[in-house]
Each structure stands twice: as structure tokens, then as C-alpha cells.
């Protein structure tokens, strides 16, 4: 049976994580299971899980390793965990969250501690960088969101070095370009609204998420957090007040397809 894994600890982040996990599980049509891998007791976590009506277990292996083992379970579709224990905790996210995100090749929802409860998913923001890899990585997310009748807002930010060469008549140009952009990079172009900005991607993702009232931000990423990599993911995790879905390049979201690559639609020329 497929399930969403809610990784909780004894912090105040547990409730938002459980709430987000329930919302995601409803979307996917799967169960939720809460896991705890702390080495210093788990009564708070148990209470939070019970309050949310979510089954709870403690990982056999303590600590991060235990969480990774749990997340890699074949029945786990995706993992939901807290960004940090407290509002003033580390940015972009706590150590456990970052390590888990880097280690597990599954979609991961990182939930800020101050997200309004209960977590509801009505509108999802999908930043697309105009590459096939990102589009394919997030395609399953968009498909699922559209099927579930969520508002899907795609966002493309033109960085200054990648501005279009031409912009003839703006009253038509955007319409034509946007239609084609969605056709290229979204599975259901007719159901997706496109927002565009010019500038620094991370800043605009947060601004637009706030502006359109997104309940979740979906990002494709390479799971690389070395210096100079994943600047957008870092910035969004650090500043987002909504859950952030991180989908490793090549991993999908649909039940049963958690670890399946979602690329390779194109045949060789």
C-alpha cells in the first residue's frame, strides 16, 4: 500500500508536517504514516500523531539514517518533513531536512513551522526554468494537480542573461509565447496559468507564491547542495511560508511511481 511518510520529531514542526502530509496523501489517494527517529524520546511526537489521527512508528535505526531507511521503503510515495524546528531555526533548512533531501530520490515536502494550519492544497506554484529536464520532473505533479482540480500556476522567470532576443508587439507576443511555453513544458497547458517575471528566480518564486496565494511550491532539483548549486531551492526553502515540494530530477509524484524516472518521452532523433 502506497503511503506518505511524515517525518516528525518532538518540535512544534510536527503538527504542520502532519497536516501537510494529510493534505498530500488526500491528493495522492494514499495513507499517511508518521515516523520518528529521534534518540531522545518520542512522547510529544506520538501525541501529535494521535491528535492528527495518523499511525505512528519509531524507526528501528535512530537518527537520520533511520529516516533515510524509512523513506526508501518501496511503499513510500513521498516524504513530508519540517524545514526547521522553530521559526527562527536554521535557513535554508535544518540539518536533518537537508540531509534527507539530498539522500532520498523521492519527492519531498519541506514544511515551514509557521505554516497556517490546517494545511489545505488549493493552489500550487510550479516554477519552470524552460528545460526539458525540469518540465519532465514536474510533469507528474502538474498532471496530478490538474486531475485533482487544483489551481496550477506555472512560473517562468527570465534571468537577465537569458532574456528573449525579440519582443515585437507585446499585446500579442506574450499570448503567443506563453501558449507555446505551456505546451512545451506543461502536461495540461489549457488548465495551467502562466506567470512570468524578469530577474532573480528565487526572489520571484517567493513573491509570486505570496501574490497568487499558493499553498505549495513545487521545485525540480538535482539534489546538489554544494556551494554555487541549488540557489533557488536554498532561497525558497529559506523564505517560503508554504510547504515546498522538492522533486529530484527524474523522480515523479504519482502513487506507485515514486522512484520511477519520468523522463525519456522523447525518442532519439
Amino acid at each position: 500500500m502506497s503511503k506518505v511518510l511524515a517525518a516528525i520529531d518532538n518540535s512544534v514542526a510536527a503538527r504542520p508536517v502532519l497536516s501537510a502530509a494529510i493534505a498530500v496523501a488526500e491528493l495522492l489517494g494514499v495513507e499517511v504514516e508518521a515516523v520518528h527517529a529521534s534518540e531522545d524520546g518520542y512522547r510529544t511526537a506520538v501525541a501529535a500523531a494521535e491528535a492528527a489521527g495518523v499511525p505512528f512508528r519509531v524507526t528501528e535505526t535512530p537518527g537520520l539514517l533511520g529516516l533515510i531507511e524509512a523513506a526508501e521503503g518501496s511503499e513510500v510515495t513521498q516524504v513530508v518533513l519540517g524545514a526547521r524546528a522553530t521559526r527562527d531555526g536554521p535557513r535554508p533548512a535544518g540539518h536533518v531536512a537537508l540531509m534527507l533531501a539530498r539522500s532520498v530520490r523521492k519527492p519531498l515536502v519541506v514544511v515551514p513551522p509557521d505554516v497556517p494550519l490546517p494545511v489545505r492544497l488549493h493552489r500550487i506554484l510550479v516554477p519552470l526554468d524552460g528545460t526539458r529536464a525540469t518540465a519532465d520532473t514536474l510533469a507528474a505533479t502538474v498532471r496530478l494537480a490538474c486531475r485533482s482540480k487544483l489551481d496550477v500556476v506555472a512560473l517562468h522567470v527570465h534571468e537577465p542573461a537569458a532574456l528573449p532576443l525579440f519582443s515585437d508587439q507585446p499585446q500579442h507576443e506574450f499570448e503567443d509565447w506563453a501558449r507555446e511555453f505551456l505546451c512545451r513544458y506543461c502536461p495540461h497547458p489549457e488548465l495551467v496559468r502562466l506567470e512570468t517575471r524578469v530577474g532573480v528566480v528565487g526572489e520571484h518564486v517567493l513573491d509570486v507564491a505570496r501574490g497568487v496565494g499558493a499553498d505549495m511550491i513545487a521545485l525540480g532539483w538535482s539534489q546538489q547542495l554544494d556551494a554555487g548549486r541549488a540557489a533557488v531551492v536554498r532561497e525558497v526553502l529559506a523564505g517560503s511560508s508554504t510547504p515546498v515540494l522538492l522533486v529530484p530530477i527524474g523522480a515523479g509524484l504519482e502513487p506507485g511511481r515514486g522512484a520511477q524516472p519520468d523522463v525519456g518521452h522523447e525518442r532519439a532523433a
Binding site: 528573449p164 532576443l165 515585437d168 507585446p170 499585446q171 507576443e173 503567443d176 509565447w177 507555446e180
Partner: protein, 939 residues
């Protein structure tokens, strides 16, 4: 093709064909062409020697015979046929008429006699003959030998080959469609075989085969079949069988004439479909694969048929005829090839499915498809006509044919289609469809059905033949040849091919910014049509240009009403136009910055009024169409002039101003005295004033207004100020600020910064130097180009092509070629990321203008055509074909010279000094650059 005469050939062949094909006899060693029909052979063309040439031939023959005899070879002059003299090298009874089977024996006998006379081979004899011919005064003698004879002629089979290839090209038949069969390609006795003369450069790509004995082997590239006349007949029979089976025509492989899309790229698929659009001036069909999937976007659009009104009006999507079926995911190989010469789209899905389709230029609205399916799972077929997505359709049957119609708020389109199977293994199917469109009413299905039945009656081969012929003739009058840059050559032809296919020749053509290649820009008509596309047509295909003008002529009343509504006189054409001719410019736009901004071009971009007038004048200058000048052309020029006369504000000093406009540089809005607008208005007033008719007082007032109109020119610097206050803006040179150009500077810097700076979107002042060079100060191109080009972002796809032309005029050829190359790739490389919404026809038009106006320096001046070429070093030659005042002219530019060819007398002014040259009917003149002297080299 034969060296002998018609009585001989026709006596043996006795062919009296009555079918749809043609039989030509090219005889007398290239001097005669006959067309054979039921009534027998009739002369099509005959080269007749002049008296001087005849005398020279006689003298050459006499000299040759004398010299051979002097060596002891008893040669005899045996015939004096048309344009040639034949000398028998072995005038002995035994060898009077040897059969071809004794060729080897004959050769031995001749060579023995030659050796006895001190000649090593026939080559020596040919050398003697050639020397004699030249001595006799023949400039280009043709020496041939069939072993027994040596001949001196004015023509040979190479002339036949050139004639037939030109004739075939006019019919749209390219070398790769040609099979050359002969029996004498290889060398005989040291002399090249007579059929090898057929292998002229013009046949490169053709298949050549020999059925002869060929004792010395065949030249490289010629297939040695042997087998003699029987094999020759078998070859012809095989061709007939293929035709009857309905085989697909061969796919062109000439890289200068094809655009190929290999494989299936989900991301770029829709852009590829646009590149592969087939159009006929009335309807356009995207090049989606016949078997589609979710990434494809099959579409058919009809020119001028819109849905909705005003700014919301958009091209109506039509029923689709070019879909066989669907598959979830594309699988297997896929190759699509658009033949630019013929407008044929070939599609090969491995060995499973091959097809060819076209949209008939000969019968606009008629389309045809031939499919060849081989073994494999049978495709589940879609219906013959598919409704456009999310659109209500009506369907029905008439005279046994299915039809489907769609309707917009006013007009509509109806299509009828049928299919027939021609064979089982492989399964061959032919599909025909006919479209009827009407911008104002729902068309009668019976008309589409009648068109379909006519297409079925004609059959695929006939439709193909007439379509190819129409395209072939268009290319004959409009091709541009660049020797030395094959990639650019192909890209230029890509542009020209689509321009040709986008415009019809009757009624009106409502040519939107993307034509019928896509729904982009909602099909609205801009100055793109008048200023960028029309010149190509005016100079190559006047009837097509006239249909563009007719669109404006039929909307004069709407333009008058627009002027009246503003309290003005004359006609005010709208910035964007659709069915009615009323302004269709949207009121706002989303920017990529996320902002929503008001759009003011509909209110302020008034230079469109003069642009329409300029288009009419451009057509008149190239064609001299007096009827148009007396009628609708005059009306366009006069009514637009009246608008300007009422629009200009005259200040207390008597100076005229045009306040609050947008020039071509749309980064700056509501500016006063935009140089482009003012100078175009001035030109409009002056041009209208010189037309006959009208009131003298009105014409005088126009001239007075024109003379007083501010144009922003500063005599000291030689620079025009783009608009009042432009020089006071932030002196920002975008060339130094932008990471690259072209760039959408409004996005890079933000609209506010751009408005406050000297950043220019596209040629504005410089557009004057391109459109009306006689209206700007002499010598002002260089300083204005130096000032404005570095400040130009080229953020409009209309900009680089015009700059290519201007760079060329200024002699900056490297920049000119770069800009031209960029323009030619706008759609091929999807540089705008909007090619999926249609081709950038204006940019394509600017490609032609850069070549014709910029590099070739063509420009009408009264009844003369100016030619002032600039040839880049990397190009070996540039050839531009135009029609000027009814004459078909070929301008061939080579390093240091120009060759002018015309089919009618024409006056040409060459070079910056305008050296006058008269080209006579069917004559050629070469003009050399040094001292601009000219010498006639052929007539």
C-alpha cells in the same frame, strides 16, 4: 535529343502522344526543339545562324578539310546542316553507313587512317578543327565527332540539355526528378561521347544511365546498363509502370532546396510544424505528422476568415484534412522534408508509412495527399476531416462526398474530402480535399464538393503537375541565388518559398503577421504586410502584391470613418486590422515582467497611414500599373495625404508638427515630431501631389505643408533627431550595456528606463533611409547609421533585416551578412520562441529586401531600374530576379561586374553614378565596375 534532323527522328519514332505529358525532340545537335503532339512535331525553338556565322562555318569547314588533306587524310565535307558542317574522315563505300554494332571496327579503321596521316587520334583531328573554326571567326565553336565524322557547330547537345532543364524547372521539375538515358557517354577514340555533353551543371542531381556498348566505359556518375534500344524501351516502360502504380515522387535531397526535420522533438514539434507549413495563398496546413500525438498541433487556417470582432478577432480554425490517426507516444523513425522548390511535404515513418502532400498553388483551396503503407499493424484511421479543437462543426454529404464546415461570427470555411485506394501491396491511398472560405458568410458546401470532385477528376498526377508548374514559374521569376554560401542560400529560399505560398493572385489577401502558418498575432494585419512583404511581391509577382493592396482598398471606407471620428479628413488606416478594417489593436498587454500595460499603438502608431501609401507607390514604381494609378492607387495616396494634411499642426512660424505619435521605435510613446512619421507624411503629401487629377489648390497646399514639416535634421551633424527631445534623453548605448544583441531592451532595462533613454527598438530614423532614400538628406545614411545602430536593441524581429540592407548600402558588408544571416534564421532556429504560432513573414520579407535593395542595390527610378551592387567577398555571385515594368530581369552580380538579362527592353542605371544601360529584348549586357563602362556580351 539527337544530332540528326526531325524527319529522321520523327520518321523512326512516329510518336503522336495525346496524354497529359510532353514529348520534346531536341534535334540538330542542340539547334532545334520540337514539341510533339497528336498533330506531329512543331518547332518550339530554333537557333538560326546569322549570315556571318554561316560564312564562318563554311570557312571553318573548308580550312579543316584543306588541313586534313594536307596531312594526307582524304576528308570530305559531306553536309551543311543547320548551324553545323560535317566532315567525313573515312569517305569510303564500305563505311558509308556503318551500324552502331560495328563501332569498334569503324574506330579501328579510322584510327589506322589517322595514323597513316600523322594523327595520333581523333583528338588531334578535333584540335585541328577547333583551331580552324576559331580562325574562321567562330567565338564558341562546338566540335564533336561520332568517329566517322568531325563536326563544327554553333550548338551541341549541351544546349539541348540546358534548354530542357530550364523547361523542366519552369514546370517545377528539379534535376533529381530527371532520368537521362543515352548510349554514348564514354570516350571513343579519345573523344568524349556525344551524350556526355548532356551532363551540364544544370543536370547535377539527375540520374544518368547508358544503354550503349560504351567500349571505353562511362564517365563517373553514369550508370552503365547496356542493352541498347530494348533496354531503353524497358526503362521508359518502368517509368510508366511506376506512374500507373501511383508511386511517390522522389524526395529532393538538394540541401539548398530542402528543410528537413528528423525525428520527433516534443519541445520543438509545434515550431517544426510551422516551418513545414503548406499554403496556397488561401489556406495553410501545418506540417504535423500524419499520425499525431498529444505534442502535435495539427491546424488548418484560411486567410481572412476571422472569428469574433475587434481586438478579439482571430483566425478561425478549420477542419483538418491531413490526419490519418493518433498514437499515444511517437515511436520509430520519422523524417519530414519540405521541398522548397515545389512546396511538397514528404513524410517517412520508417518503412511503415511514406507520403507526400501539397496545397495546390494552381487551385488554391485544393489539397492532395498520397500515402504508401507497407507491412505492419494497420493504423486505425481517423475520419477524413477532423473538427478543430473545441469548435462546433456542421457536417453533411453532398453528391456522395462528406463535408464539414465551421463558422465564425461572420464568415466560415467548409471542406470536403475523399479518399481512394490505388493498390494493396504496398497499400497506396490518395486523399483529396477542397476548401471554400468566405470572410463574411458561411460558404455553400456544394462549392467545396464541386472543388473536390474537380480535384478527383483531375487526379493526383495532374494536380501535382499543375501545382509544381505554378511553383516552378514563381521561382523562375523570383529566385535569389547566392553562390558561395550554401546554408544562407537555403535559408533565403526557405523565406522566399513561404512568402510565395502565402499570397494568392486574385481578389484580396488579408495577410496577417504570420500569414496562414499559425494563429499568432490573431491573424491581424500590420505594416508588416505593406512595408515588409509587399516589396518582394511588387518586384516579382505583381498580381500577388495587388491582392495585398486590394485588402487596403476595400477598407478605405473604414479608414475614412476612422479619420472622421477623430475630426480629420482622408483615411486613417488602423495599426491592427482584421475583417472590417476597423482598428483591432488590443487595449492592454501582459509583459514578461508580470506587469499589465496599456497598449497605445492603436491610438498613436499612425505612420501606418503613410506605410499603406508607400506600399501603393512601391507597387506602382515596380509595375507601372496605370489602371491602378488612375483608380484605387490614386485613391490610397490621395486619401492618406488628406489625412496628413488634416493631422499636421502648423505653428506660428509656419512650421508643421505631428504631435503625440509612436514611431517604429515603440519604446518611446506619445512623442512629438517623430522623424519617421513626419518624413513619411511629407513623402506621402508630395507623392500624392504629383499624381494627376484633383484640385490644384489642394495639391499646392499639400506641397506647402510638406515643405514646412519639421523633420529633425541637423545639418551640422548630419543626424536626424528621432523625435523632439530625443537628444536630451539619457545617452545610453545599448550595444555597450546589453549582454548581447538583439535583446528585448524593455525587459532588460525596464520600460521606464528605456523610455528615458536613447535606446531604440528597431530602425526608426534609419527606416527612412531604407524606404524613402530620396526624402532624406544626401549622404546622411553613414552618420545616422553610426549614431543609431549602436543605440538599437533590435528587439523587434523586423530590425535586423532592414539593418542588413542598410549596412550593405553603407558598404559594411560583414555586418550586413551577419544581420542577414540572423534574420534568415529567426524561424528556423525559433529565435523568438514563438515560431509555433506562425512564421515571421515580415522578417522573411526583409531577407529579400536586404538582398535586392541592400546588396544588389535595386531600386526603381521612374522608368529605369537602378542597380548599385555590393557583393560580400565570400560570395562568388549574387543573382536576383525581378519583374520591372513588365520585363523579367535577371541581375547577376559578380566581383567587379554585373550581368543584366531581360526578356523585354529595359533601361537600367548602374552604379552610384547611375551609368545608363539599355538591355534589349532577350539580351544580356555585362557592365564592369571600372569606369562603369559596359559591353554587350550576348544578345
Amino acid at each position: 535529343m539527337s544530332g540528326t534532323h526531325v524527319l529522321n527522328v520523327d520518321g523512326q519514332l512516329a510518336a503522336r502522344p495525346s496524354g497529359p505529358g510532353h514529348l520534346h525532340l531536341l534535334l540538330n545537335r542542340g539547334s532545334e526543339v520540337f514539341a510533339v503532339s497528336r498533330g506531329g512535331p512543331e518547332v518550339v525553338e530554333r537557333r538560326v545562324a546569322t549570315e556571318d556565322e554561316d560564312e564562318a562555318l563554311n570557312e571553318a569547314a573548308r580550312l579543316t578539310v584543306d588541313r586534313l588533306r594536307a596531312h594526307g587524310l582524304p576528308a570530305e565535307l559531306v553536309s551543311q546542316r543547320l548551324n553545323r558542317r560535317k566532315i567525313d574522315l573515312i569517305p569510303e563505300p564500305e563505311w558509308a553507313d556503318p551500324p552502331k554494332a560495328r563501332m569498334a571496327e569503324l574506330l579501328t579503321a579510322v584510327e589506322a587512317r589517322l595514323r597513316r596521316s600523322g594523327f595520333a587520334s581523333l583528338t588531334d583531328v578535333a584540335a585541328v578543327t577547333l583551331a580552324a573554326a576559331r580562325e574562321a571567326g567562330l567565338s564558341d565553336p562546338r566540335i564533336t565527332s561520332d568517329v566517322k565524322h568531325v563536326e563544327i557547330g554553333l550548338t551541341d547537345k549541351s544546349d539541348s540539355a540546358r534548354w530542357i532543364m530550364r523547361h523542366l524547372l519552369l514546370d517545377g521539375i528539379a534535376p533529381h526528378d530527371v532520368l537521362i538515358a543515352g548510349d554514348e557517354f564514354g570516350r571513343v577514340g579519345g573523344q568524349q561521347g556525344s551524350d556526355s555533353l548532356l551532363l551540364v551543371p544544370q543536370v547535377a542531381g539527375a540520374t544518368a544511365a547508358s544503354v550503349g556498348v560504351e567500349p571505353g566505359g562511362v564517365p563517373e556518375g553514369v550508370i552503365a546498363l547496356g542493352g541498347g534500344p530494348r533496354r531503353f524501351a524497358a526503362l521508359l516502360d518502368d517509368q510508366v509502370r511506376r506512374r500507373r502504380r501511383g508511386e511517390l515522387p522522389l524526395r529532393n535531397a538538394d540541401p539548398e532546396w530542402i528543410v528537413t526535420v528528423e525525428g520527433f522533438d516534443r519541445t520543438l514539434e509545434r515550431a517544426h510544424e510551422t516551418l513545414l507549413t503548406l499554403a496556397d495563398g488561401r489556406i495553410g496546413t501545418g506540417g504535423a505528422p500524419l499520425v499525431g500525438n498529444s505534442a502535435t498541433s495539427p491546424r488548418v487556417l484560411a486567410a481572412g476568415v476571422y472569428d469574433d470582432e475587434g481586438a478579439e478577432s482571430h483566425l478561425l480554425a478549420c477542419p483538418n484534412w491531413a490526419r490519418l490517426g493518433e498514437e499515444a507516444d511517437p515511436a520509430g523513425p520519422l523524417l519530414r522534408t519540405l521541398d522548397l522548390r515545389t512546396g511538397l511535404l514528404f513524410e517517412e515513418a520508417g518503412s511503415r508509412l511514406r507520403s507526400v502532400r501539397f496545397s495546390s498553388l494552381a487551385r488554391p483551396g485544393t489539397v492532395a495527399l498520397r500515402i504508401e503503407e507497407n507491412d505492419g499493424p494497420r493504423l486505425e484511421r481517423s475520419p477524413l476531416l477532423l473538427p478543430p479543437p473545441r469548435r462546433q462543426v456542421r457536417t453533411g454529404e453532398s453528391a456522395g462526398r462528406r463535408w464539414m464546415s465551421v463558422a465564425g461570427k461572420h464568415g466560415g470555411v467548409v471542406a470536403a474530402a475523399a479518399e481512394r485506394v490505388r493498390g494493396a501491396k504496398p497499400r497506396r491511398t490518395e486523399r483529396f480535399a477542397a476548401y471554400e472560405s468566405d470572410p463574411a458568410n458561411r460558404p455553400d458546401p456544394a462549392r467545396a464538393v464541386a472543388g473536390l470532385r474537380a480535384a478527383e477528376d483531375a487526379g493526383f498526377e495532374q494536380l501535382l503537375r499543375e501545382h509544381r508548374r505554378t511553383f516552378g514559374r514563381l521561382w523562375d521569376g523570383a529566385d535569389v541565388r547566392i553562390e558561395g554560401d550554401p546554408e544562407l542560400q537555403r535559408d533565403v529560399r526557405f523565406a522566399l518559398s513561404h512568402l510565395m505560398a502565402s499570397v494568392g493572385e486574385s481578389g484580396e489577401t488579408a495577410l496577417g503577421a504570420r500569414g496562414v502558418s499559425g494563429a499568432g498575432y490573431r491573424g491581424h494585419v500590420f505594416w508588416d504586410t505593406d512595408v515588409f512583404v509587399l516589396p518582394f511581391l511588387a518586384a516579382t509577382r505583381p498580381a500577388g502584391a495587388r491582392t495585398l493592396l486590394e485588402y487596403r482598398v476595400r477598407r478605405l471606407s473604414a479608414a475614412r470613418a476612422a479619420a472622421r471620428a477623430l475630426g480629420r479628413s482622408g483615411a486613417r488606416f488602423p495599426w491592427e486590422s482584421a475583417r472590417t478594417g476597423r482598428d483591432a489593436t488590443p487595449s492592454h498587454a501582459h509583459l514578461r515582467t508580470g506587469e499589465v500595460i496599456p497598449i497605445r499603438t492603436g491610438e498613436l502608431e499612425e505612420h501606418i497611414v503613410a506605410d499603406v501609401a508607400w506600399a501603393a507607390a512601391c507597387y506602382l514604381d515596380w509595375t507601372g500599373d496605370e489602371e491602378f494609378q488612375r483608380g484605387p492607387g490614386r485613391e490610397l495616396l490621395v486619401e492618406t495625404a488628406r489625412y496628413w494634411a488634416s493631422r499636421i499642426r502648423v505653428d506660428g512660424d509656419g512650421r508643421g508638427h505631428i504631435d503625440r505619435v509612436i514611431g517604429p521605435d515603440e519604446y518611446h510613446e506619445a512623442v512629438d515630431d517623430n522623424a519617421f512619421t513626419n518624413v513619411m507624411a511629407r513623402w506621402n503629401l508630395r507623392r500624392a501631389a504629383v499624381l494627376a487629377g484633383g484640385e490644384d489648390a489642394e495639391r499646392a497646399s499639400w506641397l506647402h505643408l510638406a515643405d514646412g514639416l519639421i523633420d529633425g535634421y541637423d545639418e551640422q551633424s548630419g543626424i536626424y533627431e528621432q523625435f523632439a527631445g530625443f537628444f536630451r534623453l539619457e545617452p545610453l548605448v545599448i550595444e555597450e550595456v546589453a549582454p548581447r544583441r538583439p535583446v528585448a531592451a524593455d525587459l532588460l532595462l525596464g520600460p521606464e528606463r528605456v523610455r528615458a533613454s536613447q535606446v531604440v527598438k528597431q530602425a526608426d530614423v534609419l527606416m527612412l533611409h531604407h524606404l524613402v532614400p530620396d526624402e532624406v538628406a544626401p549622404g546622411s545614411l553613414a552618420p545616422n547609421l553610426a549614431f543609431y545602430e549602436p543605440r538599437t536593441a533590435h528587439g523587434s524581429s523586423l530590425s535586423p533585416g532592414i539593418h542588413a540592407s542598410l549596412f550593405a548600402r553603407a558598404g559594411m558588408l560583414e555586418q550586413a551578412v551577419d544581420a542577414l544571416r540572423l534574420t534568415s534564421r529567426i524561424d528556423l532556429d525559433d529565435l523568438t520562441e514563438t515560431t509555433a504560432s506562425g512564421l515571421h513573414l515580415a522578417a522573411m520579407g526583409s531577407v529579400w529586401q536586404a538582398l535586392a535593395f541592400g546588396f544588389a542595390g535595386l531600386r526603381p527610378q521612374g522608368d529605369a531600374l537602378c542597380v548599385d551592387p555590393r557583393l560580400p567577398e565570400a560570395w562568388h555571385s549574387l543573382e536576383v530576379r525581378v519583374r520591372f515594368r513588365g520585363a523579367r530581369i535577371i541581375v547577376r552580380i559578380e566581383p567587379g561586374s554585373v550581368v543584366l538579362t531581360s526578356d523585354a527592353p529595359v533601361r537600367v542605371l548602374v552604379g552610384p553614378a547611375r551609368a545608363p544601360v539599355t538591355v534589349s529584348s532577350s539580351g544580356s549586357v555585362r557592365v564592369t565596375r571600372e569606369e562603369m563602362r559596359w559591353e554587350e556580351v550576348e544578345s
